[in-house]
Every structure is written in structure tokens, then in C-alpha cells.
């Protein structure tokens, strides 16, 4: 999983019918210092994350391992909202 920040939402009316009802968020990669990096993904939101939330994104075929995304054409999913990071020095 990688650490990211929700920076926006994607609206798409015409899409695969399996994707109807799912929420798509734009998630930018961030570092341990919470600074935004350039890379981003569009991920299905399964935990009601909002803009500005720090989240974990699971990618690849593992992204289909949730109740909402099972057997659907999805390769990135927001599966946790981060409260706090404990980083050892």
C-alpha cells in the first residue's frame, strides 16, 4: 500500500456498468513528511474518504478484494484513512 492524500473527485457518467455506484477519488502520493509528490492515481473509495484526508491505497489485483470492488474492473482502492504515523528516528 502507499500513502496518499485525496485531492479531488472524478465524475464519469459513461463507464463500465460494474462501476456504477462507486466513488472515484484522485489520490496524490505523499512522503512521510506529508508533502505532495507528482504521481497520482484514480482510486475507488471504499471508506468514505474526503478531500484532504491522508489515506492508504491498495493497488493491483488486490484492489478487487473488498466487498464493494469484488470482481469489478478496479486496480486501485482506498482501504484506510490514516489517523497518525509513528515513524522511528
Amino acid at each position: 500500500m502507499f500513502l496518499g492524500k485525496v485531492v479531488g473527485t472524478v465524475w464519469a457518467t459513461r463507464k463500465d456498468e460494474e462501476l456504477v455506484g462507486l466513488k472515484f477519488q484522485i489520490v496524490k502520493h505523499i512522503g512521510l513528511d506529508y508533502k505532495l509528490k507528482d504521481a497520482f492515481v484514480v482510486a475507488v473509495d471504499t471508506v468514505q474518504a474526503g478531500a484532504g484526508d491522508v489515506v492508504l491505497v491498495c493497488s493491483g489485483s488486490s484492489a478487487r478484494q473488498t466487498a464493494q470492488t469484488k470482481n469489478k474492473p478496479v486496480d486501485a482502492v482506498i482501504m484506510a484513512v490514516v489517523d497518525k504515523l509513528d515513524i522511528a528516528d
Binding site: H29, L56, S62, Q65, M79, V82, D86
Partner: protein
Amino acid sequence: MYFAKVIGTVWATRKDENLVKFKLQFIQPITADRKNVGDPIVAVDTVGAGPGETVFYITAREATIPLPVEMAPVDASIVGIVDRIDISRE
């Protein structure tokens, strides 16, 4: 499988319901010479590793196999704690 060093813990109250029981650790991938390689990632800890320990981890769909649940959105899991690495230098 790859080597990594555990560098921290992630606290997340709101997460996929199948992940509630598991600990999420921040790991820095390293080479066999213990040099950092690439960016840190988050992995589910199935072996009880602590900060500073060298571990090995698996990625992709296989990462859900060690977890005692039917399905879980996990793409990296720590599956062992490294005691020692022997490399022959020729």
C-alpha cells in the same frame, strides 16, 4: 520476496472491515547490503515485527494469502523477520 526495514507504524481507525485486526507497518525496502531502495510502503504485519527490524515481505495478490480472512485489500505483507543474511562474495 524482498527485504525491508520496519520504520514505523500506521494508525488507521477507519479501514476496510477485514483489516480491523491487523497491524499496518511502514517499511523501507532495502537491498541485501541494507541500502535503501525506492520509497517506503505500507505492509500488513503478520509476524509481529517491530521498528528497526529487517523483514522480508511479499507483494501483489499473494499478500492476502497469510491473512486469516477470505478477502482483504492488501498488496504487501510482512511474512518473516530476518535474523541474518549470508552472501557469498566472489
